[in-house]
């Protein structure tokens, strides 16, 4: 039906755009194996003559990058697990339970989606300070635990669960807790996993809040550590690149593993929002 020239043009353009998008990433990997002068040679050598693998070890030793990776993992993991658990609970209540003020609570939570963090960050910092949790793991974790997004998604999803399913559990004499743990949680599992991954990635990539709340170097997360390192040793370009490559790896692995599910849930969110 289509002329071959149309197909060639279409796939050619698609491939060109893909290559353009990949250039910065490929360059980062290639540059992390260059010497500092090789990085800015012209024309650029995409495959370095002598790959400098020692860039990785020297960058690793220059600052406590291992510690930062662990910090980011711990913070991201706790935020993802607790946030998704709390979000799923609230999502179930908003989707399937009747109670006073349900609509007010739901719309207030939707409204929080519209509030950008920079517009409330000073207040958040002061509250954290009054609680005495600044410059601590609690300070890194607690203020970012939950997002309206998780609740919105979970509610949206659980609304699709037929009431008869829950009712049949009640008729069989199960308590609400049993229904929740035996029916609702297993049903929510796939969405919880993809929400968990999105939340982890969000936390892993977050710079602004750690920058505000943490001063001690042993509490640095990866983005904060990278920023501080590059502002001190920016001229050590290849070390900056080596650490950047390491910082990307976990999120890329997570993305590739859960690719289908993540993209589907984003497509659904666009569709759901748009109606």
């Amino acid at each position: 039906m289509y002329k071959p020239i149309v197909l060639i043009f279409r796939y050619g353009l698609a491939a060109l755009l893909a290559v353009l998008l990949l250039v910065p990433l490929v360059w980062a990997v290639s540059g992390s194996l260059h010497t500092n002068s090789g990085l800015f040679s012209s024309p650029y050598q995409w495959i370095p003559h002598k790959p400098q693998f020692k860039n990785y070890s020297s960058a690793w030793n220059a600052i406590s990058f291992g510690r930062e990776l662990v910090n980011s993992f711990v913070v991201g993991f706790i935020i993802a697990v607790v946030g998704v658990a709390l979000g799923q609970m609230a999502g179930y209540a908003l989707a399937k339970r009747r109670f006073l003020g349900r609509d007010v609570i739901f719309w207030s939570i939707v409204a929080t989606l519209m509030i950008p963090f920079p517009s409330i960050m000073v207040g958040v910092f002061i509250i954290a300070k009054d609680m005495g949790i600044t410059n601590s793991y609690l300070g890194l974790i607690v203020p970012g635990l939950l997002t309206g997004q998780i609740i919105f998604f979970m509610r949206q999803y659980l609304q699709g669960v037929p009431d008869e399913l829950l009712e049949s559990g009640r008729i069989d004499g199960a308590s609400e807790w049993q229904i929740y743990f035996r029916i609702v949680v297993p049903l929510s599992w796939p969405v919880m996993v993809s929400m968990g991954i999105l939340t982890f990635v969000g936390s892993w990539n977050n710079l602004l809040w750690p920058l505000i709340v943490v001063q001690t170097q042993s509490l640095y997360t990866v983005p904060l550590g990278l920023t501080q390192f590059s502002s001190q040793y920016f001229t050590n370009y290849t070390a900056v690149l080596a650490m950047s490559v390491v910082a990307i790896i976990p999120v890329i692995i997570l993305f590739l593993v859960a690719r289908r599910r993540l993209l589907d849930s984003i497509m659904v969110s666009g569709g759901a929002l748009k109606g």
Binding site: P24, R97, F117, V122, I127, V240, K274, G275
Partner: protein
């Protein structure tokens, strides 16, 4: 014949069983309320403490001379008056809108092309989607650092295009470099959303247009764009909000420099509150940012629910 106990939904229950069920249901109802409360309370408390309280407290602080160290004194609308008369403030506000426009327009155009290509490339669709979305999961700090290096005087961009521009130290072009990095970081998300929009266009519509002999441009102009209108509006507003509140890219690449050429609103708020410790003035700025975001959101809600 099943046992009655196993099938209570069957008719022919004894009176005693029915009474027990009713009692059980009443007990369950109060138990059910405790259960509901246990489900919703953590989330409600969380948002009260970490979103609404800081918001309200911020509004109060914006009318004080707070400094994060000393106790705040009420000064009324003085901070807002100071903003009205501050050239730096108006320039920053304008620059933030400029940044949004420089990112949003190309992002939407390119992601529209990409979404169309992905939809039409049957083979290799999964690979294309993966590559197009990939930059979106890359940490913003990493993207900013890589682009900062790419835009150096002897970096990849200049050497590939045979230029020798001082991208990040020339005030008249620094914002372009930051915009390009931002576009790269966020484009994947909009490709996916627009793809979802494309998939909702009925196939018959496109076939009918093809039978009528519509050329590609006509197809796009008269069939696809009208059908994508709501999705495009959603993308426009949400990307505008995302860019205006983006902190990481300008902070890492230039920290607002050279000579404030890339100083946007989130950076200014951060500097004011945490560097110069004038939290009151910073909060007044933050409240303006909040107001802009809420107006955008209101507009978005109107768009979403129009025609429902």
């Amino acid at each position: 014949m099943p046992l009655i106990g196993a099938q209570p939904s069957e008719t022919g229950l004894g009176l005693g069983v029915q009474r027990r069920r009713r009692a059980g249901r009443i007990g369950r109802r109060t138990g059910g309320q405790v259960f509901t409360l246990a489900l919703i309370l953590p989330a409600v408390l969380y948002f009260l403490i970490w979103v609404f309280l800081p918001g309200g407290y911020g509004l109060y602080l914006s009318m004080t001379d707070a400094s994060l160290i000393s106790s705040p004194q009420f000064v009324g609308l003085q901070n807002y008056q100071q903003l009205l008369h501050s050239d730096e403030w108006w320039q920053t506000l304008w620059r933030t809108f400029e940044y949004a426009a420089e990112v949003v327009v190309p992002t939407l155009l390119i992601s529209l092309v990409m979404a169309r290509l992905v939809t039409r490339c049957r083979r290799g669709r999964a690979v294309l989607m993966t590559i197009y979305f990939l930059p979106y999961v890359v940490p913003g700090v990493v993207a900013a650092l890589v682009f900062e290096l790419i835009f150096q005087r002897y970096g990849l961009v200049n050497s590939a295009l045979h230029l020798s521009l001082a991208w990040l130290t020339n005030p008249s072009i620094a914002m372009y470099a930051i915009s390009i990095a931002t576009i790269w970081s966020m484009i994947g998300y909009y490709v996916i959303i627009l793809m979802a929009g494309y998939q909702q266009i009925p196939g018959e519509l496109i076939e009918a247009a093809a039978i009528d002999g519509a050329r590609m441009l006509q197809l796009i102009r008269y069939v696809e764009l009208p059908a994508l209108r709501p999705t495009l509006l959603f993308c426009t507003i949400s990307s505008t909000a995302a860019v205006m509140t983006n902190f990481g890219t300008p902070y890492v690449m230039t920290d607002g420099g050279p000579s404030n050429a890339t100083l946007t609103l989130p950076l200014l708020i951060y500097n004011e509150a945490f560097k110069y410790s004038s939290a009151g003035l910073g909060e007044a700025m933050a409240m303006v940012l909040l107001l802009i975001s809420l107006l955008l959101a209101l507009f978005q809600v109107r768009v979403l629910f129009k025609g429902r």
